[in-house]
Symmetry: C2
Subunit: 466 residues, 2 copies
Amino acid sequence: MFDASTYRDRRAALIKALGLRGERSGLVVLVGNGESPMNYTDNAYPFHQDSSFRYFFGHSKPGLAAAMDLGSGESVLYGDDLSMDDIVWTGPEPTMAELAEAAGCAFRHRSSLATDSREAPAILFLPPYRDETRRELARLLGVSIEAVDGKVSLPLIRAAIELREIKDALEVAEIEVAVATTVAMHRAALILTRPGMRESDIAARVTEIALADGGGLSFPVIATTKGATLHNHRHDRSLAAGSLFLLDAGAESLKGYAGDLTTTFPVGRRFDEKQRAIYEIVLAMGQAAIPAIGPGKPFMAAHDAAAKAAVTGLSSLGLMRGDPDEAVAKGAHALFFPHGLGHMLGLDVHDMENYGEDWVGYDGAGRSKEFGRKSLRLAKALKAGMVHTVEPGLYFIPELIAAWKSEGRFAEHIAFEKIEAWMGVGGVRNEEDWLVTPSGARRLGPSFDKSTAAIEAARSSGGIHG
Amino acid sequence: MFDASTYRDRRAALIKALGLRGERSGLVVLVGNGESPMNYTDNAYPFHQDSSFRYFFGHSKPGLAAAMDLGSGESVLYGDDLSMDDIVWTGPEPTMAELAEAAGCAFRHRSSLATDSREAPAILFLPPYRDETRRELARLLGVSIEAVDGKVSLPLIRAAIELREIKDALEVAEIEVAVATTVAMHRAALILTRPGMRESDIAARVTEIALADGGGLSFPVIATTKGATLHNHRHDRSLAAGSLFLLDAGAESLKGYAGDLTTTFPVGRRFDEKQRAIYEIVLAMGQAAIPAIGPGKPFMAAHDAAAKAAVTGLSSLGLMRGDPDEAVAKGAHALFFPHGLGHMLGLDVHDMENYGEDWVGYDGAGRSKEFGRKSLRLAKALKAGMVHTVEPGLYFIPELIAAWKSEGRFAEHIAFEKIEAWMGVGGVRNEEDWLVTPSGARRLGPSFDKSTAAIEAARSSGGIHG
């Protein structure tokens, strides 16, 4: 169970890690998220706490802040108890004293953060991503809002990554809870999708499952028959037999940990021949990647293994040609596989993305500028306890194919003249969530057979015709 | 149909209204909303466009801005076409030329807003509610972010209210679409709620219905057995027969117009005697208010009529006493009815709330500071074409009752000694959406019988026991 000792231990570990990096005085300030206004101040989106705040202090409640004093090792939670007027509208809430006890720290009025910050020899903070937070940091630092991003603490970023990237057993169990809900969302879609429905019907149903479990969605649902658009958040199309349907959706556990799966299946009962061929290459890409995952192994190698499987498979269909290693080295596969194989997963669906992928996924080692490879979010050597996605995909993106074809890009590897016949496949992606173990890797969550046979059996079980 | 002429006409009317207020030069700047980051920049909440932007330019798409030149009468939409990299991720989108044509105006690069603003003799803008918007306005104005709110244009606020508060037939039709989906959400909850379910099950189901219709929710769902907490957004309780369930939820139409209804019903099959008595007083409050609604009639009078019906009803139960008019004049009813009777409804669920309720609901005429009455969002004289809610409610709020009882507040009107027996009723609210017509008022949306007989019939139709 997550309790006061969990958060105390995490903070002590952070302070220790910062000390090893030479940061032994100053105040680590975590500004928790406020409400996020939709169309006016009091009409807010569902509250989502800042993940760093949640990791070190636990509470998911708007308007809090916290600080850790590197000199004394003391932590303080900043917030205010409710007034009677508040209670009429929101009901009674835990007091600050109770919140502080649960987080294993002291508490002070919210306004004291400003005074405490003024007295601190230095303020260390993590990269903000909302201007409300930047604005408060600007006031605490006494600088303009434009200057805030330039003053983030790299030692703090690196120390926080070092802790958060390794998931302990409690965290892995939470992620498995999120993945279990996520599997239920995908199984429901797999059973209920019917020609004639709208994409929004499926998006709505999987959202319902995530909300009913209490944690909500970990990111906006992609539910589309246009899978070739990688981040398609429109849900306005009707579903026709003959198309593929791509669902990329995940639930969040009540403690805030994310699940993230993608499933692709026919809107009708069965894959057609071309859909099946591409789908099976995508499964083969995942199978090729798994042996490359384990402690000490760079995730870049797993990405390349998947890319090579893509080239090999597409070559067998006549869509690519030439030496697969050479094609991958040049980046020719990226026409069909333009994104990365995976990303860290934790309290954020792209875990710690606000810290900067160059640190989270590359340890600052520099990143490719090549189309496709530049979108790989995780490349560095893995460690046991890391959790990440494995999400190979193949796409026929009309605008991209037209552009490369017109310039004859990688024509030695790409059979542009044969692609036209395959455009109708659109996009296929299969995404799973994996834990790096001391000996290799383990898929998280309940079993979910993605073979064409299992997918077609599930599509038939719902009594679908077509 | 909303088309280019709709938006052109609205802008011309605004420019004319500003001219009548003496504003004949300068640039009216509307900064459209951007994405709203949840836990890092690229993990955003579902996009919601700024309602003013949508009203005058129509488009619901992140990152746009627009301006109307009061001198020339010309309007410009600011934005950029997609790059190839964008298209890979988001798919093709309408071009700026197409967007501008649909809005009936010119278009320029997004960055041109800054240059055009620098050349303008004055910049007029509406009250912002996100710091991202404040930050851009600060740059356009050349002031600090803290100074922005103080520079909003009151003539622009008043001219925009004058237009937006009167809904034309197209807008009323859109609101009826939203209310129809909203009624479907409430009917579904009324049929499916069962003892043993969690509040989140109902919240999830009504969300699904709103999402499937494509427009989503107009505000966060209240789905609670603790109706005495007015804005209760927790959904973590289990439902037990014997309690009342309160659902306050609404859908948004695809054009962005809001529905907003509240329904209260027993978790079991029937109201108990006390629940029924309070519920029927709430219905009577609504019935008392309706005759007070019509052109030229101040909404404050409708509020007071509902409050008086509350006092009369509660007096018949022995919970209040003394002259009802006197009790209402003093504000004694507010112990049980602590909020206002209604608010404007349109593109925002509290329409134009970011403009300031003192202007939207009071025409700047000043507002009561009295507990209860101060929460009335709309008080001014009504006009045909206004759309507003009618939402009487009665609550037994433990913390509020304890506080008033201890100070003997309005003891001449409140039978504190009898309240304890009624605490279990919790909260009851009934909310409907109404249009002010030339002759009075018309309830919007499909028929929805809220009588105890109809509610109990619906509860039985689902095969519920209890």
